[in-house]
């Protein structure tokens, strides 16, 4: 897609505008937190525990204190009273068990990577050198790593004082909710029953800019710069955690280089940098290394998913039971316990199930805490149900797309109340699927698959499907309240028309790569009839943008963008009053189009720029109109938005090496109305890369002591363009009915959809050898092992089975190739 010049009267919405932000960001002429150093800045380095679970018996900092350039050395004991406990804003149940979460360990460490001391020094190098001189004695405790054994009674405990490793158990039952039937009954009555266990491996958000925090205490307010997605939340949480009054804290998220949920956090390091600045009375800056990100920034996913699906022999699903264990790691961070709950509402996906039961138990282990990672709960749910639909198809020997068609909500049925209690406002799964199947060449690929099987080719072909939807646009405050979330989901915007007719748009969302500046300019340009170039978008500073709830959950456009629409409309209303006064007519006689108020039926009119000047001079304003052309709006959506799409993956599996190559990837996404197709395309591509990465490459691995062995990019495999196929994308546009732009959000769609498409393709390629699952990431070794095991077991039990229904008998992984 290219940006093409168009006539000024063509609407901005839908135009493939190149991004305003690019010139600055791409050339690096920009303002990352680490680029800034107010005069007198000292540098902070954090010493981290090398062990996963231990009591701290002593810390000797005397040598470090004497080293050159060192201003201060601080341990957890020094700030034990001052540091408070890091916030968890999502207490999912009333009886949730939550440990104290100090920013710096005081008497025990609970994961390898936890902060145990910090040094502030003249230079970053001197701070780093001094860490080596700090002597910590650890007294080892039992390390709890495996989520399943951690959940069992009698397991050694991560937090002795809690008396259990179980944080909370959250359930949803369609009988109790009054949305459907009894799943146990459905399973008893099932003509076909499919039981599977899937493992969502632990992932590490790999944003490009490592985290960095700078705190300057020398003004009236503390100014905090942080590479964060959530400056507004951070400001409130600093106040609530440390007791520093909120009005004495200003938070700025300057240019932020990616987040993917990894910067949706209130971090220990933000608190520690703040406390050091407070103690020293001078600016303090902390910037992490990549390995520090890997061990101490929060991780994502990490669930064991047990599913039972009941269906009729014709492929109609009658019930789904989901039983999850979710690994919280050692502490609860900002929304850790709620992440799997977001998934709870999505296991039924685009389908009509009669009965549904979801149970999730959150479990503590001695690992880095987990929290939101692109998709947060929804990728896990989508993966599980889309894998199950393929397994059901295999069980019934039906085409997997046919099984989906039989169960999905048809486009005439919207709005649709789901078994999980949501109302999907709109969608057209048929249209997206038809388009995707056509682009993909589904039938030709199936034919080739048959031929390869018949020939016994070394390279086998598999086709993977993922028809997905997700709830995004977080969120209606009322629903968040009912899910026990600690805040609302509204968003705020202010639109200010300057005396010269230029416009400033203030948004409470906080972009870190998503192109808000471009998209908001397009939206407001259409609303006010002011040129795209004449609009500036202000964000990410609690001083210039005082109200907002920041960027995550694909909410910025569907919530924050609508606030900007509403503020713009208020500006037009107000300008209309002034224009009518200027034109000596009644407001009702005015038409507003392309930035001009015209008196209907005449050639008289006035432009919004003239109105702005009139508002500014205020020489002659109508009665009761304030002398400005500004307006603000807070918007709380009525509903989530529900993007959907059909993703198709063809994967070649080398049966000798186990290597997987994606041969083609087609996706047709429906993200509602599109503000800028270039931005949507970019979000989809990046999302696909991350979802494919989970399917094939990425995995956080710990050794038996709890040390992360994948703490560099040499071991934690993030794919590059070289490893990814050419993506063929298209869109259908079914407008969201819940907001005036008809937009849905696209930030997470690619990630949520792609993972199961790829794994389904891998399994499909080798299913005829008897393979029914490959654990993620589907590394060559795992694929090869799954094949070897399936081949040897099919040799021994050639004639078993036969009846409908299958299960991975011991609750383990059916020929899963576990390593």
């Amino acid at each position: 897609m290219t940006a093409t010049p168009v006539s000024p009267s063509e609407p901005e919405l839908g135009r493939a505008r190149k991004r305003k932000e690019d010139a600055r960001l791409v050339t690096g002429r920009t303002r990352w937190t680490d680029n800034m150093s107010p005069p007198g800045t000292v540098h902070l380095a954090v010493l981290r525990s090398p062990v996963a679970h231990a009591r701290i018996s002593s810390i000797d900092t005397s040598e470090a204190r004497r080293m050159s350039g060192v201003h201060a050395v601080v341990t957890g004991a020094d700030i034990a009273q001052r540091q408070g406990s890091l916030p968890c804003a999502w207490p999912v149940t009333e009886d949730m068990k939550a440990p104290d979460a100090p920013s710096m360990a005081v008497d025990s460490v609970n994961f390898a990577g936890e902060a145990v001391a910090m040094v502030a020094a003249r230079s970053a190098a001197e701070a780093r050198d001094a860490l080596d001189a700090i002597d910590v004695d650890y007294e080892d405790l039992d390390v709890v790593l495996d989520i399943e054994s951690a959940a069992r009674d009698g397991s050694p405990l991560v937090h002795e004082e809690l008396g259990t490793n179980r944080n909370a158990t959250w359930t949803f039952d369609s009988v109790e909710a009054g949305t459907g039937g009894d799943v146990e009954q459905a399973l008893r009555d099932a003509e076909v029953r499919v039981d599977r266990t899937f493992r969502q491996q632990r992932l590490i958000p790999a944003f490009m800019e490592p985290r960095s925090v700078l705190v300057d205490p020398t003004g009236e307010q503390y100014t905090v710069w942080s590479a964060t997605q959530v400056p507004h939340i951070l400001r409130t949480m600093i106040a609530m955690t440390l007791g520093t009054p909120e009005h004495k804290v200003r938070v700025i998220a300057p240019d932020v280089g990616g987040g993917f949920g990894g910067k949706l956090q209130v971090t220990p390091e933000e608190m520690l940098t703040f406390l050091m600045a407070e103690q020293l009375g001078r600016p303090v800056k902390w910037t992490e290394s990549r390995s520090e990100t890997m061990i101490s920034g929060h991780h994502g996913r990490d669930q064991v998913q047990r599913l039972s699906l009941a269906a009729r022999a014709d492929g109609t699903v009658t019930g789904l039971k989901v039983d999850l264990l979710a690994d919280m790691g050692a502490y609860l961070r900002l929304v850790s316990p709620g992440v799997p709950i977001l998934g709870a509402l999505m296991f039924n996906s685009i389908y009509k199930f009669d009965a549904y039961r979801f149970t999730c138990t959150n479990v503590f282990t001695n690992k880095t805490p987990t929290d939101a990672y692109r998709g947060a709960g929804r990728p896990e749910a989508t993966f599980a149900i889309e894998r199950m639909m393929d397994e059901l198809a295999a069980e019934l020997d039906m085409d997997p797309m046919e099984v989906r068609r039989r169960n999905w909500i048809s486009h005439e049925e919207f709005p649709f109340d789901t078994i999980a209690g949501l109302t999907y406002d709109s969608g057209n799964y048929e249209a997206a699927t038809d388009r995707a199947m056509e682009m993909f060449g589904y039938q030709q690929l199936r034919d080739e698959q048959v031929q390869r099987r018949q020939r016994g080719d070394t390279v086998q072909l598999g086709i993977g499907i993922s028809t997905f939807t997700e709830m995004c646009g977080l969120a209606p405050s009322r629903v968040l309240g009912s899910l026990s979330y600690g805040a609302g989901g509204w968003e705020h915007s202010q639109v200010r028309v300057l005396p010269t007719g230029k416009v400033e748009v203030v948004t409470g969302t906080s972009p870190h790569g998503q192109s808000h500046v471009t998209a908001w300019s397009q939206i407001v340009s259409d609303r006010l009839g002011v040129p795209f170039e004449d609009i500036e978008v202000l964000h990410g500073d609690t001083q210039s943008s005082p109200r907002g709830l920041d960027t995550y959950g694909s909410r910025s456009l569907a919530v924050g963008g609508i606030a900007a629409v509403q503020a713009s409309d208020k500006v037009v209303d107000k300008a209309g009053k002034i224009a009518a006064h200027m034109l000596e007519c009644s407001e009702q006689d005015l038409d507003f189009a392309e930035g001009r108020f015209a008196v209907r039926g005449t050639d008289k009119g006035v432009g919004i720029t003239d109105v702005a000047l009139a508002a500014f001079t205020a020489h002659d304003l109508p009665e009761g109109v304030e002398p400005n052309l500004d307006a603000e709006a807070s918007y709380d959506p009525e509903n989530f938005s529900f993007p959907h799409g059909t993703h198709l993956c063809a994967a070649e599996v080398d049966t000798e090496t186990g290597g997987v190559r994606i041969r083609s990837y087609v996706c047709v996404d429906d993200v509602g109305s599109v503000v800028n197709p270039l931005i949507v395309e970019g979000q989809v591509h990046g999302g696909l890369a991350q979802g494919i990465a989970q399917a094939l490459y990425e995995e956080a691995i710990h050794d038996e002591d709890g040390t992360l062995t994948t703490a560099t990019f040499a071991d934690y495999l993030v794919p590059s363009t070289m490893d990814l196929p050419e993506f063929r994308t298209d869109r259908t546009e079914t407008e969201a009915t819940s907001n005036p732009l008809g937009v849905k959000g696209v930030g997470e769609a690619g990630t949520i959809a792609s993972t199961p498409a790829v794994v389904n393709a891998v399994v499909d390629a080798i299913r005829h050898y008897g393979v029914t699952d490959v654990r993620m990431p589907c590394s060559p070794q795992r694929v090869w092992r799954a094949l070897s095991e399936a081949r040897s077991s099919s040799a021994t039990e050639a004639e078993s089975g036969g009846g409908l229904g299958s299960s991975d008998s011991d609750g383990g992984f059916a020929t899963g190739g576990d390593r």
Partner: protein, 284 residues
């Protein structure tokens, strides 16, 4: 990721470099392209007091012919090796292998000699150097000496070079007219080899007259697959002959386990990849 403090010198001749090294004792480190050394320093896996940068030693850079031999200066970048006509003509295996090393940025900084002296068993250039019977020319306080590739690789990240010596150049017999292939198996494009197979063969009259096979990451050092070489001699490169030869790929290997591959899988890969490397080389 900040290295511990060190002193830095950048001599301009081999002699000066060697003198500086030997007077600094064991606590000095040589810097070539820095692509392996800098991460080691930044992670503080090493903290030398002196870093001797060879970047200004002009005589260590470049490729030349000397009679039957091709000489590659240790400081020649991967990029320059890749683009060199002499290398493609007389040492095709080196050119093909270098193409699989890392990415363009790393290949512009990283050097041929640095890769070899770093002696990472997953490094790709070791197996070709071993298979091609290269000789390493090393300079030390008492002058220069040549070390045969078979004696050069001692253990994980360990070569026969003494701490006060530097690798000056690598001398390769010419393999003019041989065909070659490097079969690299890795997980993502920029990753090191899980297993790699380097092979170069001379096909004469439809038969394999001579064969060289080296394995990457099948032990603490690169491994010469002599059993495979022997099995091929005089054979027509048929599917069956190659399969039989490749079946001997794991003789003499001592592969380890890591997150990418356990021993059994690695051994399996060595056989499969050897077959593929030979088939490609013999048909090119």
């Amino acid at each position: 990721m900040i290295p511990a403090e060190f002193d830095y010198v950048a001599p301009s001749t081999v002699e000066e470099a060697v003198r500086t090294l030997s007077s600094a004792g064991e606590d000095a480190k040589v810097l070539a392209g820095g692509q392996s050394l800098l991460p080691v320093l930044r992670m503080r896996l090493a903290d030398p007091s002196l870093v001797v940068d060879l970047g200004k030693v002009a005589e260590m850079r470049g490729i030349r012919e000397e009679g039957d031999e091709l000489v590659i200066g240790a400081m020649t970048s991967h990029h320059d090796v890749l683009r060199d006509d002499l290398v493609s003509e007389h040492a095709g295996l080196i050119a093909l292998t270098t193409r699989t090393v890392a990415d363009p940025q790393v290949r512009h900084r990283g050097t041929f000699g640095g890769s070899i002296t770093h002696a990472d068993p997953a490094g790709d250039l070791l197996a070709p150097v071993l298979a091609m019977d290269a000789e390493m020319v090393v300079a030390g306080p008492s002058g220069r000496r040549n070390i045969a590739a078979r004696e050069f690789f001692v253990d994980y990240f360990t070569t026969a070079i003494e701490p006060d010596e530097i690798l000056v150049e690598v001398r390769l017999p010419k393999y003019t007219g041989w065909s070659a292939h490097y079969e690299k198996f890795n997980r993502v494009a920029q990753a090191w080899s899980v297993v790699g197979v380097a092979t170069t063969v001379l096909v004469e009259g439809g038969k394999i007259a001579r064969a060289r096979v080296g394995l990457t990451n099948m032990g603490a050092t690169p491994i010469r697959a002599e059993g495979v070489e022997q099995a091929l001699l005089g054979a027509a490169p048929t599917e069956e002959a190659i399969r039989q030869a490749a079946a001997r790929a794991t003789e003499g290997t001592s592969a380890g386990s890591d997150a990418n591959a356990d021993v059994d899988y690695r051994e399996h890969l060595a056989e499969v990849l050897t077959g593929r490397a030979l088939a490609t080389a013999a048909s090119s």
